[in-house]
Symmetry: C2
Subunit: 572 residues, 2 copies
């Protein structure tokens, strides 16, 4: 039996466009003589459609689109993720064959943690859907269904499924692709069943779906894996006939069957088309996983690129300071859009050193982008004059530093507004965690590319990009110089913050692992670093609430993933 996994990049809400993407992949799969074609979870609406799912007109449009697609399905079976309303709303997998919708499997386990809110939209069902295609029994699951070690997957296996398919929209964070595939391999071994996992790929606001669709045999071996971070139609010939033999000699499933009261499932029987000549598929390929840094690079460029494309932006503007954050942002932007579509703007003040000014220029030259320098002193002077009566007798403090950052924000937004360029903010996760960033200043923008990248990873990524390029995309002097916001004389980040190497470890433990202050101290972190970090993190929530979206890369990103009250008396 030949299966095709259509790892496509959908657009949330763009039902007409997603229909085209589905039909194109379907035609290609047919031309490769696939018997079964899988599409990702909610392929018709994109994922996550959020409160669009509360609009009846939206659901009707998805339904009409599915009917149109079904009429094009012949000579194979297509499994297509779609919302399905029938007395209540379900996250469903439509089974299309012979030019019609044969039925729906409705998702049982609805994730409502982390970035997920599926209980907000969907009812949960108790379906078991078994398909018999050319004599092979295929069980259907949707995403979270398979993250549970038991039913529906185990019940499907007990009922005879030799292949369990899982259509998913499984978002990325660094390392997740390995955990996920390990889980699927264990499931395949537990159930003595082939597993085919078809994942979404692409960026949607803060989320990136990494693809990495995979087909695993009943011994847990990966027989085919699609690339990460790009579209692919993965076509593979599988032969699940050994499954029955292996199940006869492995009694675990039989033991499980005694425990469970699995209802009789009448499979939907569909004939696989008889083919005179089976077209050849390319031998199944297993695209290797890239390492962490490469995955981060690809997730960032996919997330940014899809945000641009799906929102109709063609060009990017970035304020470059000569520092490493803006340099990395610019290098990734160029990789995403090409140098002709990136505009670098340096906005030096009296506090900018000749070295950083020069590095900003060298960066743009090295990347081949447009470069523009705008001195901010004239604006600063006028703000100082205008505020002098109010500020008389007051010492200079963070206020004056913030004015500098905000003058830059106004200039960049003016360029963005005038030319329709997307302003990409350059702050990293370490800064955003402790509030070491100016609201409406360096935080301004439509997208905050490095929002979920710790400062120590900014350095790692910068070195990595240079290595890969074989040249100094990012000037070595930029990487070597101690970080500074250059908002006053001789300022260094480490005057205000603990060293990043220490800080980032505390941030990771406190933000992503929910370790309490006491636990952090017990873990042996420096008490002063812990106290300062925690108090800064909690106080900065109001700023994060007004930050632009950025790519989630870590197990817990700010935003929908970590929902913290602004008003809070809790001190950890």
């Amino acid at each position: 039996m030949r299966i095709a996994l259509a790892q496509i990049d959908t657009v949330v809400g763009d039902i007409a466009g997603n229909q085209k993407r589905v039909l194109a992949a379907l035609a290609e799969a047919c031309s490769q003589k696939a018997d079964l074609v899988l599409f990702p979870e909610l392929a018709l609406t994109g994922y996550p459609p959020e409160d669009l799912l509360l609009r009846p007109g939206f659901l009707k449009a998805a339904e009409r689109s599915l009917e149109k697609i079904a009429r094009q399905v012949r000579g194979c079976v297509a499994l297509i993720g779609t919302p399905h309303f029938d007395s209540d709303l379900y996250n469903a997998c439509a089974v299309c064959a012979e030019r019609e919708i044969k039925g729906y499997y409705r998702k049982r386990y609805l994730p409502n943690y982390g970035v997920f809110d599926e209980d907000r939209y969907f009812a949960s069902a108790r379906d078991l859907f078994l398909l018999e295609l050319g004599g092979v029994k295929v069980g259907i699951t949707i995403c979270e269904d398979m993250w549970q070690p038991g039913p529906p997957a185990t019940d499907l296996a007990i009922a005879g499924a030799e292949l369990i398919v899982n259509i998913s929209a499984s978002p990325f964070h660094v390392g997740r692709e390995l955990l996920r595939e390990e889980m699927f391999r264990t499931r395949a071994r537990d159930m003595i069943s082939f597993v085919a996992f078809c994942n979404l790929v692409g960026g949607q606001d803060e989320l990136v779906f990494d693809g990495h669709s995979v087909v695993i045999d009943d011994e847990g071996e990966v027989i085919a894996r699609a690339a990460g971070f790009e579209e692919e139609l993965l076509v593979v010939e599988i032969d699940p006939t050994d499954v029955i033999a292996r199940r006869l000699s492995d009694v675990r499933k039989r033991a499980l069957a005694r425990e469970r009261d699995v209802p009789e499932i009448a499979p939907l029987v569909l004939t696989a088309p008889k083919r005179r000549l089976r077209a050849r598929t390319a031998p199944a390929h297993v695209t290797p996983f890239a390492d962490d840094l490469e995955q981060m690079r690809r997730a960032l460029t996919l997330g940014l690129g899809d945000y641009m494309r799906k929102n109709g932006f063609g060009e990017i503007v970035i304020g470059v300071s000569g520092g490493i954050d803006s340099a990395l942002t610019a290098a990734l932007a160029v990789e995403t859009m090409g140098a002709d579509h990136v505009h670098c703007v340096s906005m030096p003040s009296r506090f900018s050193s000749p070295e950083t000014r020069e590095d900003a220029r060298r960066l743009a030259e090295g990347l081949g982008t447009e470069f523009r320098e705008i001195e901010i002193e004239p604006m600063l002077r006028e703000f100082e004059n205008a505020l002098a009566p109010a500020f008389s007798g007051r010492e200079s403090d963070l206020t004056e530093e913030n004015v500098q950052a905000r003058v830059r924000g106004v200039l960049l937004m003016a360029l963005s507004n005038k030319f329709g360029w997307l302003l990409v903010a350059t702050g990293n996760k370490s800064e955003l965690s402790v509030g070491y960033a100016t609201l409406y200043g360096d935080m301004a923008g439509g997208f905050a590319l490095l929002k979920d990248v710790f400062k120590t990873d900014v350095f790692r990524l910068a070195r990595y990009l240079n290595e890969q390029a074989g040249r100094e995309l990012i000037p070595a002097t930029t990487i070597a110089r101690p970080p500074s916001a250059e908002l006053r004389d001789n300022q260094l980040d480490e005057d205000s913050l603990p060293p990043y190497a220490e800080l980032d470890r505390v941030l990771e433990a406190y933000i992503e692992e929910d370790r309490s202050r006491d636990e952090l101290l017990r873990d042996g972190f420096d008490a002063d670093v812990v106290e300062r970090a925690i108090s800064m993190i909690d106080r900065a929530e109001y700023k994060r609430r007004q930050a632009p979206p950025g790519v989630k890369l870590r197990p817990k990103a700010f935003g929908r993933d970590r929902r913290t009250p602004i008003t809070s008396g809790w001190r950890d």
Copy 2:
């Protein structure tokens, strides 16, 4: 039996502070000889604690606090809302008496719609908790439990409860207090049971809890109602002995009992203390509901005041333009904090008319606040110069208007930073809906007071405040003048937007009622207004995502209440 409803204003996360609030109300209830004292849902942690609930240290702190409180409970029974971990996490009501925790009722129905995310945090239980206090059977429910017409409340009634208590954190929107109380009255009649609803009061980020705690007799009559929008200890003597008589002659509950297989519930029997002399309570009072405008006024001032107090702000700064939005914001700010704590700043440009400049000044004089005028021309000139090389050959457009708004934003934020004043943004819901506001400009601030107030309601509220004050708090000329952003010559809002009276009706239907474009046209709205409004609303999502929090006043507010993707191909 005497019951006390402690309608208190808690602070999310401030467990130590909430403990003090609970103990103070408990002492007062004891001094008034209450037999039963009710506290709101999650009174110990505040509501909603959001992801603080994922921190084990936070849960432990709440548990320790509850134990301390329980040791102070004697001579009465206290029902206290708290998270409770026992194998899994529950939203619970702790029953405290005789200096100990006697047990927990665990919430059955967890709301996970609108502004609620309770499935994210809590497990749902199937408890039925019946208390027998001095011979009176009391059934316990938590918030959403009673919004379901069936169990647990009906099961409790079948099991003999003569009083059903409901501890709640029920957020406000205009008109909700009536709907809610009507629901409770119907429940009381359906169950032939007294109902006591103890609600939270106070502001928490975007939510306002309105109080309006109420005690209803078994015929559905309100016998006591606490004030809205302020703390109150409502003490009332009730006599549920007629309940049994009425149930004998009303067979509905008996019929229901036949349908239900209600488990035997052994009530927790507690003796009501014998009192030599029962202290008198004041006769039960029924505080009348205020009308819509008064409720909006009180919700706005409570929401703003609590945001200030709970986040440690003492002073407010507002940019006043001479227009009605900033005038209403300033008037409400003065009502909240007093004129001495409000700073009005007028920032005229070449486009500001002498009339609006004068109105800005008159407003501040009338309110008695500090007033400062800062001309923005010098900054504008320098921005124009700095951007001239980039903009050469380009027509003036929205960019130049945005620069003006952003220069004002920089000035206001500088004052905010220097003096620790909270910048309150002045935009209304109509503007925010259609994106008629400048990100980092007039949208800048820590709180956006009128974020959920339609422009037509801004006018109504302004007139109402003047009527109530018996003088022109808000200059009549400000109210009479056609709205203008004054960002170019002779500009009127209606040049860019449909008339507000029409626009607001479309916004209400599209945003709050999820009517589709086709439905709106069928409803008879002007096609041009509908098309323009919808396309503007959908395009402005990225701006709203970066807006400050503001008080939810309407059935569906932007933010957690309406979760819309930024990247979306859906066109209604």
